[in-house]
Amino acid sequence: MTQLPVALLCSYSWTWSWGSVQWPRQRQDFCRVIFFSGSATFTTRIRPMARTISGLACPALSIPYTGAGLWSPKPNTPTVGFNQNMANLTPTGQPPNTGAAQSFGSVMVIPEMKMGKDRRKKMHLSKMYSIRRSGFEEDHSQIGGPGFSRVVYCNETGGLEANKFQNYADNYVRLTKYTPVTFLPKSLFEQFRRVANFYFLVTGILAFTPLAPYSAVSAILPLVVVIGATMVKEGIEDWQRQQQDHEVNNRKVKVHRGGGVFETSQWKKLKVGDIVKVEKDEFFPADLLLLSSSYDDAICYVETMNLDGETNLKLKQSLDVTSSINEDSKFSNFKATIRCEDPNASLYTFVGTMNFQDQRYALSPQQLLLRDSKLRNTDYIYGTVIFTGHDTKVIQNSTDPPSKRSRIERRMDNIIYFLFFILFLMAFFGSIYFGIVTKDDLDGDRMKRWYLRPDDSDIFFDPKRAPMAGVYHFLTAVMLYSYLIPISLYVSIEVVKVLQTIFINKDVHMYDEESDKPAHARTSNLTEELGQIDTILSDKTGTLTCNSMEFIKCSVAGTAYGRRVTEVERAMAKRIKGEDHFDENDIDSYSHPSVKGYKFEDERITHGRWVNEPHSDVIQKFFRLLAICHTAIPDVDEETGKVTYEAESPDESSFVIAATELGFEFYKRTQTSVSFMEFDPKSKKHVERSYELLNILEFNSTRKRMSVIVRDGEGKLLLLCKGADSVMFERLSKKGRQFEEKTRDHVHEYADAGLRTLILAYRELNEEEYEEFNEKFTEAKNAVSADRDDMISEVTDEIEKDLILLGATAIEDKLQKGVPETIDKLAQAGIKIWVLTGDKMETAINIGFACSLLRQGMKQIVITLESPEIVAAEKAGDKNNIAKVSKNSVQKQISAGKAQINASKSEAYALIIDGKSLAYALNDDTKNEFLELAVGCASVICCRSSPKQKALVTRLVKEGTGKTTLAIGDGANDVGMLQEADIGIGISGVEGMQAVMSSDIAIAQFRFLERLLLVHGHWSYRRISSMITYFFYKNIVFGTTVFLYEAHASFSGQPAYNDWYLSLYNVFFTSLPVIALGVFDQDVSARLCLKFPFLYQEGVQNTLFRWRRIFSWMLNGLFSGIIIFFLCMNSLNPESYDKNGKTAGMEIMGATMYSCVVWVVNCQMALAVSYFTLIQHIFIWGGILLWYLFLLAYGALPASVSTTAYKVFTETLAPAPSYWLVTLFVVIASLIPYFCFKAVQMRFFPGYHGIVQWVRHEGQGNDPEYDINMVRQRSIRTTTIGLTARSIARDHSFDPHLER
C-alpha cells in the first residue's frame, strides 16, 4: 500500500471478491496485477499482504490503481495468463470512476517475473487448452472399498512409516524368465515338455533296465549334451534380459530425502509415497501423482509414445492446492494422504482422493503420470509415487510375450510325430514277429533254437510267456529305433538360429548410423519365419515416417511454389530412369544451412522476393496466416536472438518455421496477442506486427480445421483458418474461389507426391458478427454438459464460412529413408502390406500415397461411418440404434466393395477403413467377409485404429489366411499387434522401448526390413528347412540300417553297431556338417537375393518345406539305408573278406556299415550344399575323418572299454582292400539316385533359386547383362502397389485425378 508510484494519476481503492483466483505463493515480494479492459491492458505491481491466501474464497483486498501510465508493452514481458489466476472482477466497492469500472473485464495476478532464462517456465499456457476439471463423481464413493484400497502416505521419508507396513511392490521390474533359483527346475521342465526330449528321457531311464539294447551311459550322454546345450543357451539369453532389466532399474531419479533435499537415487529404490523430481526429457520412473511443475499453473507436457504411440504431447495438470509447492525446499513439510484404486491395467482411468491440509480433493487421470512416458517441454515436475514396479499401469499392461514358434517348427513337430508313429509301428511289428518266433522256440520240451536255452529263460525271452516277452521287446525296440528321431535336431536348430541371429545383429547393412543402432534379434526362435512372410502389418508414425514434418511446397494464389523434390518423386524417378536423376549435389548446391522442418526452395519467394510476384498481397496474407494461426509458443534465445518453437504437433511448428524463414518471424505470444516481425515492402524494413488474439478455435478430428480470430493493427477483425481440403473448399465464399481450380490441381499433385496438404483461407468479420459469435462461443465453452463439444463445434461452424481462399501448403511427412523403395521391393517379392495406424484417414491416405501403397487411378474402397444417417443416429443418442445402423452400414459397404472387386478383377483396389467401422467389421459375423474384401485389395489401410484393433486385425489376418504375418511398429500401441503377429518387428530408432521390448527383432529403420526379409529371412528359411529335411534323411538312413539288421536278427533287439557308434552318430559324426549347412549355406548371394525379389516366394509358398519335399527326402533316406545294408551284407558275407581267410563278424560288419552310413550322409550333404566355404569343407570331410579318428582312438582303448570296437580298424578293416572297395561302391551307389534327380531338376525343373543360380552361372558367360535383364524383366511380379506399379500406371494413365 505504501508503494504508490510517483506517476500516480489518481488513487482510489475499492474491494472486490477474487472469485476462484488463487493467490500465487511465490517468494516474490511483488506481484503484477494485470487488468484487462477491452482493448487496453493495465498492469500494476502490488505486494501481497497475506501470503496464506489460498482456497476458493479470498478476503477483500485493496489495490492501488495506477492507471494507464504503467502499461508496459515491453516485448519480452510475458504476460500470458493462466485462467485460474484470472477472475472476473466484481467491484463491490464504488470506484470513483464509473466508466473505468464498467469497462474492467478481468484481472490477472501473476508473480513478478525475474527477467532472463527461467522466465519461460513462469508462463501460463493453460488458457490455450480447454482442460476440464474433475469434481467428485460417483467413482469416488468407492474409495476404500474393494478394488480401491490403496493408501499412500506421501513424503514419509525414513523411519518406520505406514507405507512400509503396506508392503507394496518395490520399483524393481523383472522381465526375465528365470531367477537363479527357478532356473534349473523351470528350464528342465521346459525342455522335457518337448515330446522328443521327453521320449529320450524315458528311453534314457529305460536304458538302466535289462531291456536296453545298449548301455545306459551311451544313451544318456547325448541327451545330457543336448539338454545341457539348450539350457546354456537359455541361460545366456536370460542373462542378457537381466542386463536390460538392470539398466532400467538403475536409472537415476531425484528423490526427496527429507528437509527439502533431493538426492539422486536409483529407480529400483523408489517406494510408494516418495516425492520425486523429474526433469525435462526424462522418463517417469513409476506411476506418479503430479504435484507441481515448473509452470505456475502446474501443468506439464507428457509424451506417451511408449504407452499409446501417440506423438502429440498430452497435457497434465496437478490440483490447484499443490501447484505452488514447486521448489525443493517446499517439500520439507509436505504431507498428504492419497487413497486410490488398486493397481490395474487401465491406462486412461484413475480414481482417487487426496487428503491435504485437512481437505479432501478428487484426483483424476489428469494428475497421473505413467511410468515410461516422458516429460516434455517442461523443465521439471514434482510428483509422488503411487504405483511402483509391477503395479504400474504400463507393466500391468504388458503381458508375458507369448512364446512364438515358427511354422516350420510346428510342422517339424508333426514330422516327429509321424516318425514316432513309424517307430512304434516298426516296434510293434517287430514285437509280434519276435513273440511268434520266441514262442516257436519251445515246443513242449523240445527246444528249437536250443542254443538260446528257451527252456530256462528270463521273462524277456521266455517262450512260455511269449506275449509278455513281446511286450517287453516292444520297449526294447522303441529304444533301439530311437535313432529314427534326431535327438540333436532341436539343439542343432537352436545353435543354428543363435548363429543366424548373430548374423542379423552383426549385419553392417542393417546398422543405422544416426541412432547408432544395429539390428537386434531378441528371440532366436523365428529367423526362418522371416523368410515366409505373406503379409506385413505396419504402423505408420515412426515406422514409415519419421514423424518430422517439413514444409516443402505451397500453392499461393493459384501458383505453385517450391522446387524441392520429395522422397517419393525421387524414388519414382529412380525407378523409371533407373538412376538417381536428382543428384544429391544438385540439391545441396542451392540449399542454405538446413532448418529442421523447412525444406522449401523457390527463388521467387525466398529472401523477400515475393513482393515482386503478381499476387504479392495474397502471398503476404498467406504467410501472415501461417505466422498467426497456430498454438505454438516461441522461445527466444536471449543471447543469439534465435527463436525456437514449442508446438503441439510437428506440422504446426513446420508452418511457423516456414513463415519465419520466409520473413514473417513469429517471436512473441502473449495471452492476448501474437506478434511477428515482417518485412515491409514499402519501407523496406522489418516492422513489428502485433495481432490481438481473440479466440482460438481448436483443431479436432471431426472439424479437421483450426482457426483463430484476431484483430489486426488497424482494428480489423479477421478469421484465419487452415484445414483439410475436404472441409475447406466447401466453406469458401463465392468471391473467395478465385484460385480454387488451380489450387485443387496443386493439392492433387501434392497428394500424389506424398505430401500432406492444408488449405489456407480467411475472412473478415464485422464487430456485430463477432460479438454474437463470442457470446455463443463463451457460453459453449463454459458449458458443463456432455454435449459441450458439439455445442462448440456448432458455434464455430457458423463463423467458419464464406472464406476466401489463399492457397495450400504441402508438408512432407518425412518418410523414413528408403521407405518407398523398400515397399516396392517387398511388393515385388509378393508380400502384402497393410498399414494400421492411429492417425486420421487423411493422414493415412497421404502416407499411403507417399509410400506408393496408393496411387492415382487405384480404386479406393473407403469404409467409414461418417454418412449422414449414422451421424443422425448418433445425434439421436440411442446406443442400440447407433450400433445397429452402423453395423448395417459397414456390412453394406463391405458387400458393395466385394461386389466391386468381383466385377472387375483387373483393376487395383485399395481398402481404407476407419476405426469405428473396423470395430464393426471385426465382429464375428462380418470379419470373414471383411477379410475376403481386404485380401482382394492390393493395399489395405486401417486408420484411427486402437491398439486392440491393430492386434485384432493382425489375428484376423493370421488366422483367416493361415499365412505368416509380420507386424512392424515402434510404439507401445503396437505392442499387441507385435505380439499377435507371427513375427513382431520393433523399430528402435526412436526413443520408445516398449515396442522393442515386446518385439522379436528390433531394427532401426523400416528400410532394413528389405534386407531382413529378402536376405536373412530367405537364407534362414532355406537353411532351416534344408537342415531339417536333411536331419530326417540322415536319421532315416541310419534307422533303416538298424531296422533291417533287426529283421536279420529275428527282431531280438541286437544292434549291429557298437553302443558308442550308436550314440555318437547324431551328436558327433553327422551334426557338424548339418550345422554348417544351417549357418552358412546360401543359394544365391545377398546381392542377388535383393536383385531378384521373387526368390522370396520360395518361403511364402513354402516350396522347400512342403510335405512332398519332406517325404522325398525321407524316401531318399530309406533307399540309401536299404542300399547300404544290402550291399554291405552281400559284399561281405559269408565268405572271407580278406586274404587271411577270416570272415566278417558282427564287429566288422557293423563298423563297415557304419562307415558307409557316415560317408553317405556326409557326401549327400556335399551334394545338397550350394555354397562351399572352407568351413563346409572342414565339417563335411572332417566329419568323415572324425569317424576314422574315433575308430582309431576308441579301438586303442583297453578291450574292456571298447569291447567290439577293439582294434577293429587297425587290425582288420584298414588292411582289407574289400573294406575300402565296399565303402567306395556303397557310397557312390547310394548317391546316384539323388544325383540324377538333382541334375534333372536343376536343368529342367529349377526352383526359383535354381533359376537365379543359372543366371549367376551364365552371367560369367559372354552376355551377362542380356540374360540377367531378361530374367529380371520376366521375373518381376506384376504388382499393384509400389513405385514400379505407380510408374507403370502413370504411363498408362489418362485421368490424373484421384478417383474416390
Binding site: 565268405e1135 572271407s1136 581267410g1141 566278417a1144 583297453p1198
Partner: protein, 339 residues
C-alpha cells in the same frame, strides 16, 4: 576417413568381417550339363575296370562247398534227427568226398558254415562274460551268463567260459584225406590276434565247462588256457547274420585240379532242431578275400548304369535345349499364361 574418425569407442556399429557379413569366399557349384556328364562318365570309367578287377580276383578264388547235415543223417533217423544227434551212442562219423575243380594254392582255408543259426540274437550275444574270459580273478563275473553261469545253482562253481555262446560251441570235426593220406590241418592262427592277446586270458583255464545238466556243444581242454583255444575264440566272435562261415583251419599244401579229397566228419553239432544247415567249405583267398562275384558285378552294373545315364543326359541336353534360367517356370508367369 570421415567415418572412422567419427566412430566413437562406444559405437554399436558391427565390425565388418567376411564371416559375420556372410561373405566368406566360397565355391558355388551348380549342376551344369558338363558337370553332370563328366561325373557320370568318370564313375563309369572308374567302376568298370574296378568291377572287372574284382571279378577277375574273385574268379581266381577256388571254392568248394559241401552241405552235409542231411546227408550225414542216417536214413533210420531221418524222421527223428534229435534222437540221433543227442545220443552219445550213435555213430556220428560221416564221410564225404569232394572234387577240386581247379588248382587250389595254399593256404587253403577250411570253413564250417551254419545257416539259420542266430548268433546275432540278443539273448545269445549278451550271454557271455568278457571279464571272465580275460581275467582268472573275475571267474565269478557270470551275471550275464544265465542259465550257463554256475553248475546247477551252486554259486561257488562258476562255469568258465560261461554263457550260451561258449556253451553252444561248434563241435563238428573234419579230417581231410587225399587218397588215404591225411592232410594236415593247421588250426593255429585262425583267430584274431587281438582276441588272443587281450580278450582271452593266457592264464584263464576252462572250469566246469559242459559239466552242467545240459550239454550244449563242444568241450574244451581244461589244460589249455583260453587264449590258445582258437576254436572257441573264433566261435565267440559272433557272426553278423544268421548265415555265416567260420574258420576251422588251414591246409598249407596245394590241392591240384580234379583231385578228390575225402572229408571225415564227426557230425556232432545239432542243427536239426532249428532247421539249420551245415556246410563245410574249402576256399583260397586273395586280396579281395573269398569268392564273391557280387561286388564285381555290382561295380560293373553301376558303371554301366552310369554310362547309360551319361548318354541319356547327353541326349536330353541335345534334344531338349532350353535357355538357361528360363523364368517361364515362375508360378506367376505360369498363371498368367494360363489366364
Amino acid at each position: 576417413m570421415d567415418a572412422s574418425t567419427r566412430t566413437r569407442s562406444n559405437s554399436n556399429k558391427p565390425k565388418y568381417s567376411r564371416f559375420t557379413q556372410q561373405e566368406l569366399p566360397a565355391w558355388k557349384p551348380i549342376l551344369t550339363p558338363k558337370w553332370v556328364i563328366t561325373s557320370f562318365v568318370i564313375i563309369a570309367i572308374l567302376f568298370t575296370p574296378t568291377g572287372l578287377l574284382c571279378l577277375w580276383a574273385s574268379e581266381h578264388v577256388v571254392e568248394i562247398i559241401d552241405r552235409y547235415d542231411d546227408d550225414c543223417l542216417p536214413d533210420s533217423y531221418s524222421t527223428n534227427p534229435d534222437l540221433y544227434i543227442q545220443s552219445r551212442s550213435t555213430n556220428k562219423t560221416c564221410v564225404r568226398t569232394l572234387k577240386v575243380p581247379r588248382k587250389m594254392t595254399a593256404p587253403i582255408f577250411i570253413y564250417y558254415q551254419l545257416d539259420n543259426f542266430y548268433q546275432n540274437h540278443r539273448r545269445y550275444v549278451k550271454s557271455r562274460s568278457d571279464k571272465q574270459l580275460r581275467d582268472p580273478d573275475e571267474a565269478d563275473e557270470t551275471e550275464d551268463c544265465k542259465p550257463q553261469d554256475h553248475l546247477s545253482g551252486n554259486d561257488d562253481e562258476p562255469i568258465v567260459p560261461c554263457g550260451l555262446v561258449a556253451w553252444s560251441l561248434f563241435n563238428d570235426t573234419y579230417k581231410f584225406f587225399k587218397g588215404n593220406k591225411a592232410i594236415d590241418i593247421d588250426k593255429k592262427n585262425i583267430a584274431w590276434e587281438s582276441d588272443k592277446k587281450y580278450k582271452f586270458g593266457s592264464n584263464v583255464y576252462p572250469k566246469n565247462f559242459q559239466k552242467g545238466g545240459l550239454i550244449g556243444g563242444g568241450e574244451l581242454d581244461d589244460t589249455k588256457p583260453l587264449s590258445e583255444q582258437e576254436d572257441l575264440i573264433v566261435w565267440m566272435k559272433t557272426a553278423a547274420l544268421p548265415s555265416f562261415r567260420k574258420l576251422y583251419g588251414k591246409i598249407n599244401t596245394n590241392l591240384e585240379a580234379n583231385e578228390t579229397i575225402t572229408v571225415v566228419i564227426q557230425n556232432n553239432y545239432n542243427t536239426y532242431e532249428f532247421g539249420g544247415e551245415k556246410k563245410v567249405a574249402l576256399s583260397t583267398a586273395n586280396w579281395i578275400g573269398g569268392k564273391n562275384d557280387f561286388l564285381g558285378i555290382s561295380f560293373l552294373a553301376t558303371g554301366g548304369v552310369c554310362f547309360f545315364v551319361a548318354v541319356s543326359f547327353i541326349l536330353l541336353y541335345v534334344l531338349k535345349p532350353r535357355p538357361l534360367g528360363d523364368p517361364t517356370h515362375l508360378s506367376w508367369n505360369r498363371n498368367q499364361a494360363a489366364q
